[in-house]
């Protein structure tokens, strides 16, 4: 179907899809009183009575300490986990009504260690979902090059490398490219820049924030770094012990009067000697 489309026009169509998605007013993701505990046991819950929705094109940051339940919320969206009670609605349907494979192929996923396949080249890693969706070779190759350029890697130079031949930052760029391969409407990111050195991390955060704005995708981003949250988010939800304790725009968030919010904003204060 697509082999006769010249590669130049394909890039345009992706940007248009993105704009169309951003203008759609239906929420892309809705949590309706979601509780989750391992093995369906309610007494030992990880997240409790979670209710929020994410508008299309929004970048929602789930902020919280380790163990606050933010990764669990992320994994409920692509049905790696199923709610014990309540439901998660993705693109109009509860995740339990979705065929998990179809649901996941329409959602990009980026994790901390990138999780690249060590036995695949960079190109094969990025082409994973296209190959599962049986795209033809021409379309796949064009898409891989397009994505490598998008994440700032020269296709000719990186296509044939293996993950172990890349730096941490480059691996994470490839991870982002792989997640975007089939042009999913939703992107889930679990501390994608958490394992990088501070300089590389800042570099990738800046680039990704520009990229996110351009792509207009619905993004749910998990982090414990408020600085990162303020840079990327159009909205921040703060979690503590599996409950939502704040839900605000990045402008309002630091002014919220709650001890946990203050605990996070305290981390932003520069070192005493560096105060200007």
């Amino acid at each position: 179907m697509h082999y006769d489309v010249p590669s130049g026009e394909r890039g345009v169509s992706i940007e248009m899809n993105a704009k169309a998605a951003a203008e759609n007013t239906d929420p892309a993701i809705q949590f309706q009183d979601v509780t989750y505990g391992p093995d369906g046991s309610v007494p030992r819950t990880i997240v409790n009575n979670i209710r929020f929705s994410v508008a299309s094109g929004q970048t929602l940051v789930l902020l919280g300490r380790s163990g606050s339940g933010k990764t669990t919320l992320l994994r409920l969206i692509n049905r790696l986990l199923v709610p014990t009670s309540g439901q998660v609605i993705v693109r109009g349907r509860p995740t339990t009504d979705w065929d998990p494979i179809r649901l996941r192929r329409g959602i990009g996923y980026v994790i901390q260690d990138a999780g690249l396949f060590p036995h695949f080249t960079v190109a094969q890693n990025i082409a994973l979902v296209p190959s599962l969706e049986k795209w033809d070779a021409t379309r796949t190759t064009a898409r891989v090059s397009e994505l490598l350029l998008l994440v700032g890697l020269e296709p000719a130079q990186y296509c044939h490398r293996r993950p172990h031949e890349l730096s941490g930052g480059q691996r994470q760029r490839v991870g982002v490219a792989r997640a975007l391969a089939a042009d999913p409407a939703i992107l889930l990111m679990d501390e994608p820049f958490g394992a990088l050195d501070p300089v590389t991390r800042a570099e990738l955060q800046r680039e990704f924030s520009a990229l996110a704005r351009r792509l207009g995708k619905t993004i749910v981003f998990v982090t414990h770094d408020l600085r990162e949250a303020l840079l990327l988010a159009s909205r921040i939800i703060l979690l503590e012990n599996g409950r939502i304790i704040a839900d605000a725009s990045p402008q309002e968030f630091p002014r919220i009067d709650h001890p946990e919010v203050q605990a996070f904003t305290a981390c932003l204060t520069p070192l005493p000697g560096a105060l200007a």
């Binding site: 996941r104 260690d113 599962l132």
Partner: protein, 210 residues
């Protein structure tokens, strides 16, 4: 009689026994791999079958090899005197290292890789064939290598139930109280084991993924 003169006088016979021995090992290993690797893949997501098959394979391994050959003789179809019985016993012996390494190789994969695979919308069978298996192949081959070396050694005992091979010289030498005759069986068997170890070791290193 020195081992060397015995070897010179009987070299044709020794060579034939070596060929027999090797055939026995190759047939047994082919069956063991054909059973062990698919079974190892099957038990990744089936805990009951996993415990059963790993337990059973461990039990076979604990039976002394001579006793295992003995036990099989009276069993209909697979038993009796000769090569067939020997191969059955060798397969049972070789199964554990292959089965265990296949299982360990398939399950010992970086959790981030498996999580990404699942989250990208790969089915369990796609994950098995395209991710787990290619990443486990060096570990699986290591199991096959161990099993081959065990089988080359245990196959010498197969001569006790009339299966031929290099064990023929060892048993004859023991009966004749002749070191030269024992060595005529033991040395080629040891050389076979060393050669198999080196060859498969080489292949294993080539399959390893950094």
């Amino acid at each position: 009689m020195t081992p060397w003169t015995f070897f010179l006088e009987h070299h044709a016979e020794i060579l034939e026994a070596t060929a027999n021995h090797l055939t026995l090992v190759i047939i047994a290993m082919a069956f063991a791999v054909a059973i062990g690797v698919p079974l190892g893949m099957l038990i990744v997501h089936r805990p009951t079958l996993r415990n059963l098959s790993l337990g059973l394979a461990s039990i076979f391994q604990t039976i002394p090899s001579l006793a295992l050959f003995g036990f099989l003789i009276p069993i209909p179809f697979i038993g009796g005197i000769g090569r067939r019985t020997a191969i059955v016993a060798l397969v049972l012996y070789a199964l554990l290292p292959i089965l265990r390494n296949t299982y360990v190789g398939l399950t010992g994969i970086d959790t981030a890789v498996l999580e990404a695979a699942e989250a990208m919308g790969m089915t369990q069978s796609q994950i098995l064939w395209r991710v787990r298996l290619p990443l486990a192949r060096a570990v699986i081959l290591a199991g096959i290598r161990t099993a081959t070396i065990i089988t080359i050694g245990v196959a010498t005992i197969a001569a006790a139930i009339g299966a031929g091979g290099l064990g023929t010289f060892i048993f004859r030498g023991v009966a004749m109280v002749s070191d030269a005759v024992i060595l005529a069986g033991a040395i080629p068997a040891a050389l076979l084991a060393i050669a198999a170890d080196l060859l498969l070791g080489l292949l294993e290193r080539r399959l390893k993924i950094s």
